[in-house]
Subunit: 209 residues, 2 copies
């Protein structure tokens, strides 16, 4: 069995779906966490070729780019599909949520309180609902609980985690999720009640998001 | 044979690797082009569910998100690989170039001349070289001309087109590409000399980039 070591911030965000893939596969990994306040110094250490995390080491070989890592593990751990249209829908959802991430990041990094408040209003009232409508429509193409129907994929881990993150930051309200995006509410519930995920969430470090 | 219709700006950018995939496969498609100045009005027409292009219609069914579309056609047209590590490298390169695209977009959309000049300096002198170093390192893992070695994939179309775009906008100099990123220079040359691509480039509409 290869030795896996994941290095990421002490946050859910881009690292958590990768952690979930390991949990679901029942594969041990070292879960190294770096505090945001330490990152500026740590990233210059030479350990991080692109000065970016998450970074996954497999028997010492270095893998970067969170989505690429998640998809790679998805393929290894049978959390993937081979059908061209279903794979397209997964890629399409990642594209939509990448667009969302860019806006989320602008809000998160903004230091001016007024500007941050404006960005938050746009995020909560316009952007997040628009992105979620797009993803809801794609998931609604199947009858099952997951994006591809009944088979859990890395895409479901990604979506469920982003929803959880937005909920925990009050960028999205649970009631709104239930009422306006019922397929996504069901998907999220189906993921976080998987026993391996449920027990991980109960014991994982408590973080801001 | 399905009827394909691609709608995008009258630019290369995100649409061109998709056009190249059709050309290489020898599959006809309608190449609808919208001028940037018309887009604000056209996007509200109801034809664009997410008010975004590129948009691909296949027998009237609507596909969005450029990377997802390119990967989908790559899978259909045998411009894909199944090996997990090679697929990871493709995804990793898309992740890196997505980061680059965010900076490119900030520069392209900036209207203040001083700010634009500053963003351009950073792009030319720091960001583009840094991203290209990362991609060069990945491509250097194989001996062949392409990302996965000898097999052409959608990833090569994507990389070759971005390099061409940066060259045409003078964000990258041909000599610098040759000297500092020899694998990428070879990759680009191998793609643009494919007969189907070469003859398309000779006749395609002349655009800003």
């Amino acid at each position: 069995m290869p030795q896996y070591k994941l290095t990421y911030f002490n946050l859910t965000a881009l690292g958590e779906p990768i952690r979930w893939a390991f949990k679901i596969a029942g594969v041990d990994f070292e879960d190294e966490r770096i505090e945001i306040s330490d990152w500026a110094a740590v990233k210059k250490s030479g350990r991080f070729p692109q000065e970016q995390i998450p970074l996954l080491e497999i028997d010492g070989e270095v893998f970067t780019q969170s989505t690429a890592i998640l998809k790679y593990l998805g393929k290894k751990f049978d959390l993937d599909v081979d059908d061209a249209i279903l794979r397209f829908r997964l890629d399409q959802i990642f594209g939509i949520l990448d667009d969302a991430r860019i806006e989320f990041r602008s809000w998160f990094m903004e230091n001016d309180p007024d500007k941050k408040q404006n960005l938050q209003q746009t995020l909560v009232n316009e952007s997040i609902p628009r992105y979620l409508r797009q993803v809801e429509e794609i998931v609604a193409k199947t009858d099952g609980n997951f994006i591809t129907g009944s088979k859990l994929t890395y895409g479901d881990l990604y979506v469920a985690n982003i929803l959880g993150m937005w909920l925990s930051l009050s960028l999205l309200q649970e009631q709104k999720l239930q009422d306006e995006f019922p397929k996504l509410a069901t998907l999220r519930n189906a993921v976080v009640t998987i026993p391996a995920i449920k027990s991980w969430i109960a014991v994982r470090p408590k973080t801001l998001f």
